[in-house]
């Protein structure tokens, strides 16, 4: 039988919250954020950064390989395409297209989907039924096919594409937000607001909305990657942002011609850009998701 010594005090790590401390922690995705910033920077300052005009090519300089291969020059660092246009410049301007379309479409879809989700979830009744049936039907339509269908109807232009993508993807938001609203409706603060005589509109805007914003943002990060790939797919098929505006998907489509003869740079570089952007978006989204709402971790 032993006499126990005084129990050891257990020590904690004391977290000292500093302003940018969250960045220094191991799990902050530094690399993806940097990639994203670089792409954004490039997109904004495209005019300054691009060595050549992306839309005009020199017919004497067609299909030049990147500078490190034989036949390549330092003038066209990453080579040229079938019209003699500089690949690097087109990539830089293409970033602009991808970012603008991607973000705008996601925001548009988010606003529309969140609004309808809140209305549907909070008002209930036949409004809910109608919106939900609509959402389910919309969801049944395969996104890409539907987008192509809409593009065939309204004709492709940059803003049309944004609207189309927003119209295709809002349903993903509506579903999730509605679910949240349904459970929020039962909470104390909503009931208090009702008792206090707030109008339905006020409750939806001032009480419900701030509580679903987090989920909407999280969904947005998930959708960003999807939308960017969708835009690239549309461009690849020829119904995306129309030429001469350079879009990465379009570059891939043009590049296909040269593929069989081994002009690999027309395919690899645009694809890498798409991949980097989507990868960064996904990684940032994963991190943001965990930070904002640990319950959604399994999504």
């Amino acid at each position: 039988m032993t006499i126990t010594s005084p129990a050891d005090a257990v020590s904690f790590d004391v977290e000292r919250p500093a302003r940018f401390a969250f960045m220094r922690r191991g799990d902050f995705p530094l690399v993806p954020s940097l990639i994203f910033l670089v792409i954004a920077f490039v997109a904004v300052f495209a005019n300054v950064l691009a060595p050549h005009n992306p839309e005009i090519g020199s017919l004497t300089a067609r299909f030049k390989p990147p500078f490190w291969q034989t036949g390549g020059t330092a003038q066209y660092l990453l080579g040229t395409d079938q019209l003699g246009r500089d690949v690097l410049s087109r990539l830089i301007f293409g970033a602009r297209v991808s970012l603008v379309v991607g973000f705008t479409a996601v925001i548009f879809a988010g606003v529309l989907g969140t609004a309808l989700g809140i209305i549907s979830g909070y008002l209930g009744g036949w409004v809910d039924q109608v919106i939900m049936r609509l959402t389910d039907t919309w969801l049944a339509l395969p996104a890409l096919t539907f987008a192509i269908f809409l593009a065939a109807i309204v004709g492709p232009s940059m803003w049309n594409i944004v609207i189309i993508l927003g119209a295709v993807y809002w349903t993903r938001y509506a579903r999730v937000i509605r679910g949240e609203v349904l459970s929020l409706k039962e909470r104390e603060f909503v009931r208090l607001a009702i008792v206090a005589g707030c109008s339905k509109r006020t409750i939806m805007i001032r009480h419900i909305l701030p509580n679903v914003v987090n989920s909407a943002i999280v969904l947005g990060t998930l959708m960003l990657g999807v939308v960017i790939i969708a835009e690239a797919s549309l461009s690849f098929l020829g119904v995306g942002v129309p030429p001469p505006e350079p879009a990465w998907g379009l570059m891939l489509s043009d590049g296909k011609q040269g593929l069989m003869v081994g002009y690999w740079w027309l395919t690899v570089f645009p694809g890498c850009c798409i991949m980097l952007m989507v990868l960064s978006a996904n990684l940032l989204g994963d991190w943001l998701r965990v930070k904002l709402d640990p319950q959604l971790r399994q999504l």
Binding site: M1, T2, T4, P6, A7, A9, V10, F12, D13
Partner: protein
């Protein structure tokens, strides 16, 4: 038959360590217990007292974050902690069995009752499908399930809660274990079913010569079922001994408070007695006795130094300086009492 206890735990400690290694939760802290063949030992405590972790420790089925840091677990003379994973697997279900609290969750919804009862027989005894199946039917009969032949092909969701718990019991006794650990088996059952189930356990125990460790927070069940009792608080056993003795004259103030909090019909008291304060945070235990913050008979020494186990003359054991006082001098030393 030797006098050796069936299971003896000596200074057993299980700690949960956080991923960063910074927080240590002493879920089971220097626990020493023993149980003899055929006996029933009740383990009582609040949620978070460590009783379930103790059960999982005995079977060595702990989650990844938990580690057994010290002690011995002598089962029929062999230290279970020294066994390999494969050897331990052969002990589980065959020599030591366990019943869990929620029978609906414990049974796999996609497989028949018969399949799940026969499984242990097939794995541990190499029984053929046919013989295991018919023994499963016998086992269902033994736990008093009506029409076992039809029940055996049914699925868990087709049964009532009481029946499911009996099936779990049947699984438990299927390989004739020496020790059965029941972790709050009646907590999720209706009151009317509880009594039947307890009677069943009693009978099974007698018929098969089982030792039973009954984990519960319900002292009433302990009074009915158990021979020995161990009271756990904050991962430690604060009092242990024969049930009747502890019920009649508890040594540790926590035990006393638990007993007092049971409402009785003959009570003249107008208010229910509760134990003041909150259960402790197991990762930040105070120095000294962990019950000191809530103890009505606390004194200086309690806060400074954690009491070891004392064996008062009356028998059993208690982790309390009061027990120490009563052995050395009849008048316990109290310098400034706590609340009440």
């Amino acid at each position: 038959m030797s006098n050796r206890p069936l299971l003896e735990l000596k200074n057993l400690s299980t700690h949960y360590v956080s991923a960063q290694g910074t927080r240590v939760v002493r879920a089971v802290d220097e626990v020493s217990l023993r149980i003899n063949a055929g006996e029933t030992l009740g383990i009582v405590g609040e949620s978070g007292s460590g009783k379930s972790t103790l059960a999982l420790t005995i079977l060595r089925i702990l989650p990844m974050a938990a580690q057994i840091v010290s002690g011995q677990m002598l089962f029929e003379g062999e230290d279970l902690l020294l066994k390999s994973d494969e050897e331990m697997r052969r002990v589980r279900g065959k020599r030591i069995a366990m019943i869990l609290q929620d029978p609906m969750a414990s049974l796999n919804p996609l497989f028949t009752i018969g399949d799940q009862v026969a499984e242990t027989l097939r794995v541990h005894e190499g029984a053929s499908r046919a013989s295991a199946w018919s023994r499963a039917v016998d086992l269902l009969k033994a736990v008093r399930i009506p029409s076992p032949d039809t029940r055996v092909t049914q699925f868990p969701h087709e049964m009532s809660g009481g029946m499911r718990q009996r099936i779990v019991g049947a699984i438990g006794i299927s390989c004739e274990p020496r020790l059965l650990i029941a972790d709050e088996p009646t907590t999720s059952l209706d009151l009317t079913i509880q009594a039947q189930y307890l009677a069943l356990l009693r009978d099974l125990q007698r018929e098969h010569g089982l030792a039973l460790i009954f984990i519960t927070h319900n002292l009433g069940i302990v009074a009915k079922m158990c021979d020995q009792l161990a009271v756990m608080y904050a991962g430690r056993v604060v009092e242990s001994g024969p049930v009747s003795q502890i019920f009649n004259s508890p040594t540790h103030p926590y035990t006393e408070a638990l007993l007092n909090s049971i409402p009785r019909m003959s009570d003249n008291r107008h208010r229910l007695t509760a134990i003041e304060g909150q259960p402790p945070d197991l990762s930040a235990l105070p120095p000294g006795c962990s019950f000191a913050p809530r103890c009505p008979q606390v004194f200086e020494r309690c806060r400074a130094q954690a009491p070891p186990e004392f064996k008062p003359l009356s028998g059993g054991a208690a982790r309390c300086w009061l027990a120490h006082a009563s052995r050395d001098n009849p008048a316990p030393l109290r310098v400034g009492s706590g609340a009440l």
